[in-house]
């Protein structure tokens, strides 16, 4: 059993955002592993078993516990496996997640909105800035070197429009031959993966893989680290490289003009980007090329991962509020590179920009000045 390797040293406890917010061991990684280790002593108690299944979903799945574990316990894998087991054992206890599952099953996005709308909201919004955008949306028969995978949040949320706009402007400026997957894009499967629903996630991946192949893309780029994780690790499309937009832009630009903004910038590493996809260098490299002065925040979760916004929104809010206080974020501008982190930051009334917004501002200012 994977959990037997845990020596319960407790090094993960104080790092855990759930423990920080709630302050009781059953929410910490050690507490949960301990409960698994002694499950044979308590599993006959149905109330305890039910409570444990609930606690498994009280987690941001940020992976920090796995990262720091000196005993090499693959905690994230354990959380995934246990969530699946919980879901299979007592599906009726997870009715609050059923609407999400149904949305994905029926219309292939997390919001339950019509599939065709995936290429409408944002396209309408950015058409004025990029008049030819309709031509850059994938339809059967069209091909491109780079496929743009927007993901559900960026396709449907108005709070993400500026990131979509600046990312696509960035692709245009760089002269990259791209197509947005648009209405043919299905959810990447990340939410189902977080529920342990591997079968459901695989169905979505199969469709996306087919589209990427039809497009003849050599790369697929996304601004969403959750999507990136799925594209990179679980889609595994042969011959197609999955990249975060910061990676694509960092490769493209050897140097950049110096940014003229003088906000009190800080950089927040999105967990799925930093920890799960190992993308740490490129966002910082881009910021360095633009001469941005910033301080790194603690490599800790914003509270927006692991479906926590659905399973316990109050704790999710508390996590970001605690960070806001501890890391003095009230008067800063948080640079990040993840739509879910952006939502969390905006909910907590913290100013935030995606790196693509800084990049576009920078290049446009340079253009105007010259």
């Amino acid at each position: 059993m994977l959990e037997d390797k845990c020596v319960r040293c407790g090094s993960c406890v104080k790092f855990c955002p759930m423990f920080d917010a709630i302050g009781e061991e059953q929410y910490s990684p050690r507490g949960k592993i301990y409960l698994l280790q002694v499950m044979d002593l308590i599993e006959d108690d149905e109330e305890l078993a039910k409570e444990f299944r609930k606690v498994l979903f009280e987690c941001t799945m940020c992976g920090r516990c796995s990262e720091i574990c000196a005993s090499d316990v693959d905690l994230l894998r354990i959380w995934h496996e246990q969530r699946l087991k919980a879901f299979e054992t007592a599906p009726d206890e997870f009715e609050y997640l059923e609407s999400l599952r149904n949305s994905i099953a029926n219309v292939r996005n997390i919001y339950g909105l019509p599939m065709d709308d995936r290429a409408i909201y944002w396209a309408d919004e950015i058409e004025q800035d990029i008049p030819e955008i309709e031509d850059k949306i994938y339809e059967r028969g069209k091909t491109a070197d780079v496929a743009v995978f927007l993901g559900c949040l960026m396709s449907f949320r108005s709070t993400q429009i500026d990131v979509v706009r600046t990312m696509i402007q960035g692709l245009e400026r760089a002269g990259i031959n791209y197509l947005v997957m648009g209405a043919e894009e299905f959810c990447c499967g990340h939410p189902l993966d977080l529920m342990g629903d591997e079968k459901g996630a695989e169905e979505l991946r199969e469709h996306n893989k087919g589209i990427l192949k039809d497009m003849g893309a050599k790369k697929v780029v996304t601004a969403c680290p959750g999507c990136l994780y799925q594209l990179k690790n679980n889609h595994k499309v042969e011959g197609i490289e999955a990249l975060h937009h910061t990676q694509l832009f960092d490769r493209h630009y050897e140097s950049l003009p110096t940014l003229t903004l003088s906000d009190d910038f800080v950089y927040h590493d999105p967990c799925e980007l930093h920890r799960l996809c190992d993308v740490k260098v490129e966002p910082r490299s881009l910021l360095a090329k633009m001469g941005v002065n910033y301080r790194d925040l603690e490599v800790s979760c914003c509270g927006g991962g692991g479906l926590l916004r659905m399973t316990d929104p109050e704790v999710s809010d508390k996590i970001i509020e605690l960070r806001k206080q501890k890391e003095r974020l009230a008067n800063t501008t948080v640079i990040t590179a993840c739509p879910a982190c952006r939502e969390q930051l905006l909910n907590a009334e913290i100013a935030t920009v995606d790196i693509s917004e800084l990049l576009e501002y920078n290049l446009r200012t340079e253009e105007e000045n010259t």
Binding site: K5, S11, V13, E24, Q26, K32, V55
Partner: protein, 446 residues
């Protein structure tokens, strides 16, 4: 049973399978008032109290045995209350960790100098309960040496302030009785929560060292040579600032290490004198940090197949048996193998200091040991190995710190604690005083 109560029993010792029905509640107070409320609730239910810090100890002190009890954790009492740079002390809540405190102190170029390997979770209150130390103990002493006073709440709700000069308490009769007994911080150190719940401490803080330091790695032919070097270091009171030994390591985790070895950090101007005591290869800052990291993680690592277990917190080699370390280790390993354990890793702070139950200091190495746990052995069988090791080490004269298993076998310390508990009350963590070192209870919890 509630999940909260069960999870509160999580701890790093192999004694982690208690009778959960006996845990009647778990509390995570954030301040003294909430702590007082938790104590009151336990009292109303007529339950014992088990004070708990980070739960990183290996001796079961924070488990409370199998008494009907409530567990009171200090993990959320983690605030710095005040810092006096002029007077060199900080007032802290008991649940703060050395890492948390030192993160704050670093901005003031100051440091709290008790940093055990478990510094990221061990609480300062818990360190008082075990009189813990770390790789800086040789230079700076144990937790008691770094404490000026501590505030304690008793089972009946009475608050004490325990310092080096005695006890202060609103209850004048109690104060007089305790001071008549000569109670001071020595009694709180290594008391394992049997006196009361430590709520706040005033701890010493010191400026970050400004001396230029060098790193070095010394490898030895066998543990006797290592023991001889440590003996000379102790005799000459060598001013090293960091000393850690890796005595043995299983091939699964050995990598390029050649134990027995010492990882050292010392003042630049001491390097010539140190060479008189031991050979060593200089380490760059990066190399030294890598070695420190390897040492820090070694006790937590696992074999490729199976899992590791710590049967003891630490073997205390000092005096004569430090010079015969290899023989001692060979006998320990032989016994382990007879009981189907595979020796996995042995390491420890060295040279180091600890206090025996009569409050006299001992100097040597506190050697932590990990073994590969045999499959299909019951908890009771595993505990029999512990008992055999106790007997073997007593035969060899290898003595532990009071809290470092042999389970609470320091009779001098226990007698003193019992004497005080006659005055203070006996409802805090009393399993430690069960007959035969609580062996029956401990064996049931493996």
């Amino acid at each position: 049973m509630k999940l909260k109560d069960i999870a509160a029993a999580a701890n790093a010792s192999m004694y982690h399978r208690p009778d959960f029905k006996k845990i009647k509640g778990a509390f995570y107070p954030r301040n003294e008032d909430e702590l007082a409320e938790a104590v009151k609730r336990a009292r109303e239910g007529e339950y014992e109290i088990t004070p708990k810090g980070g739960g990183s100890g290996l001796s079961a002190g924070c488990t409370g045995g199998n008494a009907e009890r409530v567990i009171v954790s200090s993990l959320k009492m983690d605030k710095v209350l005040s810092i006096s740079l002029e007077e060199g002390h900080a007032d802290v809540q008991a649940g703060i960790t050395p890492v948390q405190l030192n993160d704050i102190l670093a901005t003031m170029s100051m440091k709290f100098l008790v940093t055990p390997s478990s510094r990221d979770i061990a609480t300062i209150g818990g360190l008082m309960g075990t009189d813990g130390g770390g790789n800086d103990t040789w230079a700076n002493g144990t937790m008691r040496d770094n404490t000026l006073h501590a505030k304690v709440i008793l089972y009946d709700g009475t608050k004490l302030k325990v310092g080096w000069d005695g006890v202060e308490c609103e209850n004048e009769v109690l104060e007089a009785a305790l001071n008549k007994k000569g109670m001071n911080l020595n009694d709180l150190a290594s008391s394992h929560g049997t006196i009361g719940f430590v709520s706040e401490l005033r701890v010493k803080i010191k400026p970050l060292p400004r001396k230029r330091l060098l790193g070095g790695l010394a490898e030895y032919e066998n543990a006797n040579v290592l023991g001889e070097v440590l003996t000379t270091m102790i005799e000459e009171k060598c001013p090293i600032t960091y000393g850690e030994a890796i005595v043995e390591a299983h091939p699964d985790v050995r990598g390029d290490l050649k134990p027995p070895l010492l990882i050292l950090e010392f003042p630049f101007d001491y390097s010539c004198d140190l060479r008189e005591i031991t050979h060593f290869e200089p380490l760059t800052k990066t190399e030294l940090n890598r070695m420190k990291e390897i040492r820090l993680k070694l006790p937590k690592r696992n074999p490729k197949d199976g899992v590791q277990v710590a049967l003891f917190e630490g073997y205390g080699f000092h005096g004569e048996n430090l010079l015969n370390m290899q023989e001692g280790i060979s006998e320990i390993n032989s016994l382990l193998q007879q009981h189907d354990f595979v020796p996995f890793a042995k390491s420890g702070h060295a040279p180091s200091k600890w206090y025996l139950g009569d409050n006299h200091p001992a100097y040597g190495i506190v050697m932590h040991s990990r073994e590969i746990r045999p499959q299909n052995k019951s908890g009771v069988e595993i505990y029999k190995t512990v008992e055999a090791l106790v007997a073997k080490c007593q035969e060899l004269g290898i003595t532990p710190k009071p809290e470092h298993k042999w389970p609470f076998a320091d009779e001098v310390k226990k007698a003193r604690l019992q004497e005080l508990r006659m005055i203070l009350g006996e409802r805090m963590n009393s399993f430690i005083f069960e007959p035969n070192c609580a062996s029956e209870t401990l064996a049931s919890m493996v």
